[in-house]
């Protein structure tokens, strides 16, 4: 017996020279720190950090699809978007809007005030009021921090279990990377349906506050309802959002009687069509 213990001690000494034993202890410390970081990272996220996350997600979205190369189109969408954002509780954020060079029909928002719409979706529209409705829906995701909350929830659930991945970098960079991956995942898997319904009902109000005819969002949704949900052009949007018919039915019930007074507000179709003509020109 004694002999066995002796052997074991010798083996251990051989396996763990002094330096490595110290390293092991250090790892335990790092583990504790990483768990603390996860708690910090997934707790209250201040605006600066939200901005950082949004910037990194936007960079990746732009890695999937570049911006349309027409300055006037980009400025137009930024003007509409900024005007809408000014009517909200986060008017002071630095808002950025971009038209993605993709024929697929979709729109995205990231934390911190970045909103993207594809050329394909813009081309289904016929008025600025429709664009306003869709942008206001995306702005609402930012206002309510839908993506940020979804990332936090998932990070708390998964990273604590899989903490070693959070140790891959000294200064918490590994954790940030994991959160960005989770964020990107939301764009291919979708948010919670209730978040989408909330963004719809906030979107119509924001567009109305901005002075537009209030039915831009439902009209745009009705147009999308025409495209077969399995068509490549809309498959991703369809799989990441509740059915258009449900969204319309909910808007109908919420909007009924409350928006009639605004129905003669401008659609701003003319300048929208002028912008769309530029967008329809073949790429240079």
């Amino acid at each position: 017996m004694k002999r066995h213990l002796h052997t074991a001690a010798l083996l251990l000494a051989a396996a763990l020279p002094l330096g490595q034993a110290a390293a092991f202890e250090l790892n335990l410390n790092k583990l504790g720190a990483a768990l603390g970081n996860i708690k910090d990272a997934t707790g209250e996220v201040d605006e600066e950090r939200e901005q950082k996350i949004g910037e990194r997600l936007s960079s990746k979205l732009l890695g999937a699809a570049a911006l349309v190369e027409i300055r006037e189109v980009q400025l137009y969408v930024n003007r509409v978007g900024r005007w809408l954002a000014s009517q909200t509780e986060r008017a002071d954020l630095e808002w950025h809007f971009g038209v993605l060079d993709a024929d697929t029909i979709n729109a995205f928002a990231t934390p911190g005030g970045y909103v993207f719409i594809t050329r394909g979706l813009l081309l289904t529209m016929d008025s600025e009021a429709e664009l306003a409705g869709v942008l206001a829906h995306e702005i609402s995701h930012v206002l309510r921090r839908h993506h940020l909350e979804a990332i936090k929830t998932r990070a708390q659930r998964e990273l604590t279990l899989n903490v070693m991945s959070a140790l891959s970098d000294d200064d918490n960079g590994g954790l940030m990377d994991s959160m960005i991956d989770m964020g990107m995942d939301l764009y291919s898997k979708g948010l919670d349906r209730d978040d989408e319904y909330e963004a719809d009902r906030m979107g119509v109000v924001i567009a109305t506050r901005a002075g537009y005819e209030p039915y831009g969002l439902p009209v745009s949704l009705l147009a999308l309802a025409e495209v077969n949900t399995e068509d490549d052009s809309i498959a991703l949007m369809s799989s990441t959002h509740p059915p258009v018919s449900d969204r319309l039915a909910r808007l109908d019930q919420l909007m009924e009687g409350k928006f009639e007074a605004y129905r003669d507000r401008p659609l701003a179709s003319e300048r929208f069509r002028a912008m769309r003509q530029q967008l329809e020109k073949p790429a240079r």
Binding site: S59, V227, D231, M255
Partner: protein
Amino acid sequence: MTVIRLTGLVIISILAVPCLARPGVISADTELRKRPYRSAPVVTELAKDTRVDVVRRQGYWLKVKLGSDADPSGWIKLFNLRYEDTPAPAATTNSKRPASGGFFAGLARGATSLFGSSSRSSSDSHGTSTIGIRGLGAEDLETAGPNPAELRRLMRFTVEEEEAADFANEASLAAADMDYLDPSKAAASQSDTAAGSDEEEFQ
């Protein structure tokens, strides 16, 4: 960036363009009105599931036609229409309808005229023609790397609040006060939808 593959179905959809009527279905019992106002005379009552053709939209109202040219046309409220998710087979549609370009405007143009409902699903994408259309699918998002140069370009288009206000002013967009909608109100009306469908007039 993936390329969306469209099969010969594209050709079918292009051939189908001449009968551009947008068939829709009435989603709840409603009145067909002579003009796009709630006080306008009622032409007839439309029962749920009635098939109509949408001619154009004016604000909250859609101008629709019933069946043949001899049948009356009139206006219904936007929310009382559903487009059919799956298009009816061509054989069952009324081919005598006049072509009505440009209704529901953007639909006849750009991407949607290619992807329109008559093109059906293009998921069976073996062979035939591949059109250079830029897609943005789940795989593109999953495999995307950062693009800092494009992010810097995005920043160059950022617009200040005052510039946006001037732009709004040019289109006579006047800011209005309005509270966000209370979803619990919808839940209440949802429960008596059936009973309420007869008194759907706006107050």
